[in-house]
Symmetry: C2
């Protein structure tokens, strides 16, 4: 990339829509996200899709710090939107990217973030086909905010949604919980452990594809991001009008994550994940799907953590280690601002 | 809307992803944007599309002030993205909305903005099918930023794009230039005129549909937003490798807009519009299309402002009132930060 014309920091004129914007777009964004749709430089990109059901989603990312162990705000912005699409069983295809930059942002930092986005898009096999850049005066935003929106195609016959959990379904997860949130918090608070806690931020579409190949009748997929596993399961319980029973002993939590949570007074059940998926599926499909999950690098530690029940509709209960049963409510208040 | 549970200002927990977020989403956003896709409350919305060419776009809106004569940041966020879609001749269908809110934002203000969005979406016949809300601590953003992304279907046979201008094409516009930018600047600077300058912010899809019905062979449609008419025409000239000749005398500018530009030292050719479209089309189609445009409320003052020429490829020249010919360059620097 030839960045000399751009300068070493982002200035207001990079958001003017004029010459400086064009230079930034061509030399940074278009070069990094390089694809024919984006390179056309029209008001919108024209992409080809088959007819049928399209999954469509958006998320804005305001994570602080913008670079963290295991990723940055750019890779996170791709992972999060790819995952929201594949939580409907859809194959993610095209993303858009909207940048809000604070005047004075170092170009080096922006390049690092854009490189993270481009790499994440490449790995997930999605194209960033349209974008937008705004610059606001110093102090009117915090370094960089990114919005990604995206679309994907739902293969015929797939019916995945938060309202489809059925009593008797097993609840699975593809690995340890709380890794993303605690990676962010440890970086923000300057907490150091023997082994650095890394975010689990990653695109789950390949894993989900393997799971649906093993069992096309998966009922629910949901990524437990903000609000954590507890909030995501509450959403499913309410949408499907079922109860969910969790086994405390079955919840996979890394020792260092559990330790960091204890120090900060946080419950890992409410801590955000960015590479995890909760699955509700018929009991008879569990073994096959678990095998498919464990076969994938992002599913090695997959396990069953609970089941869907008919009573206590709309509520999540946890069988504790000492044999009690306690209510697991949706997140109240805000324990971890700007986690994604 | 029952807003009592939400409180009078936005707090950090409205962006937690937990209970407060759910209440805000259900009682404000879902109620205002009311449609079956959004109400499903899944990670992404499932919409039906015919196969074929899909136009896809995104824009973030950071306009300051957030409420201005003729609109607010919410209506602007719908108009801008609807327009970017129909600039490819596509019929806009579905939008997503990502909100970044500053802690402390008055709920009343947010309600007004969301109502503006909902009304703009209703008028443009598009549905807001997916959304996201983030809240950042006070001082880390400026009140509210909105991203909208959207998709639309390109009818068969339509081939509109910035690279399609041909020598001999006429250049049309649907009305006066600079209205949006000067409405924002006058509000921001506290300039008052006898008649308030109102933004032209509006959705152009109905107008564009009427134009394409009159002439399916329109070559270029472009909305001259940031950077104004001068920058948009430069983009077309470069993409199509043609020259463009403008007639200064033909440029429609309101007297008060011209006056405000003079006071602020701005050139209306570089001032943003949000309800205008530049059109390049074969000369023989001009009369029919102008008639169709003038028939529509947003096209009453449509006129021809110039033509596409073979020489001076990539450049825009203006025949001035005194008979000279001057180069009209792309916007350099930033004359109007946070205009959209």
């Amino acid at each position: 990339m030839s960045m000399q014309r751009i300068g070493s920091t982002i200035q207001l004129d990079h958001g003017s829509g004029g010459r400086a914007t064009h230079e930034l777009v061509q030399e940074l964004f278009a070069a990094a996200f390089n694809n024919k749709f984006l390179l056309e430089m029209n008001d919108s990109a024209l992409v080809e899709v088959e007819g049928g059901q399209l999954a469509m989603t958006t998320d804005s990312y305001v994570v602080d710090p913008i670079v963290f162990p295991g990723g940055n705000i750019g890779s996170l912005a791709v992972h999060g939107t790819v995952n929201d699409i594949c939580m409907r069983g859809a194959r993610p295809l095209y993303l858009t990217a909207g940048f809000i930059l604070e005047e004075g942002l170092a170009l080096k930092t922006l390049c690092e973030i854009v490189a993270g986005m481009a790499e994440a898009a490449r790995k997930a096999k999605v194209l960033i086909v349209a974008g937008d850049t705004k610059v606001v005066p110093k102090g009117k935003a915090d370094k960089i905010f990114i919005n990604t929106a995206g679309i994907g195609i739902v293969p015929p016959g797939i019916k995945v949604g938060g309202h489809n959990a059925r009593p008797g379904d097993a609840v699975l997860i593809n690995g340890t919980i709380g890794d993303h949130g605690m990676a962010i918090m440890c970086k923000r608070e300057g907490l150091a452990f023997e082994n650095e806690i890394r975010s689990d931020s990653s695109s789950l579409n390949e894993l989900v594809e393997a799971m649906l190949k093993s069992c096309p009748h998966i009922n629910v997929l949901r990524d437990p991001t903000r609000g954590g596993v507890a909030t995501a399961l509450n959403e499913i319980a309410q949408q499907s009008k079922v109860g969910i029973h969790l086994e405390e002993d079955a919840l996979p939590i890394r020792d260092d994550v559990a330790g960091a949570c204890e120090i900060l007074g946080l419950d890992p059940l409410y801590v955000a994940n960015e590479g995890k998926v909760l699955v509700c599926l018929p009991a008879q499909a569990v073994e096959g799907v678990l095998q498919a999950m464990r076969h994938h690098p992002l599913g090695r530690a997959s396990c069953k953590i609970g089941e869907v029940v008919a009573d206590e509709a709309g509520r999540v209960m946890m069988k504790t280690r000492i044999g009690g049963l306690r209510l697991v409510d949706m997140l109240r208040g805000e324990q971890l601002p700007r986690i994604c």
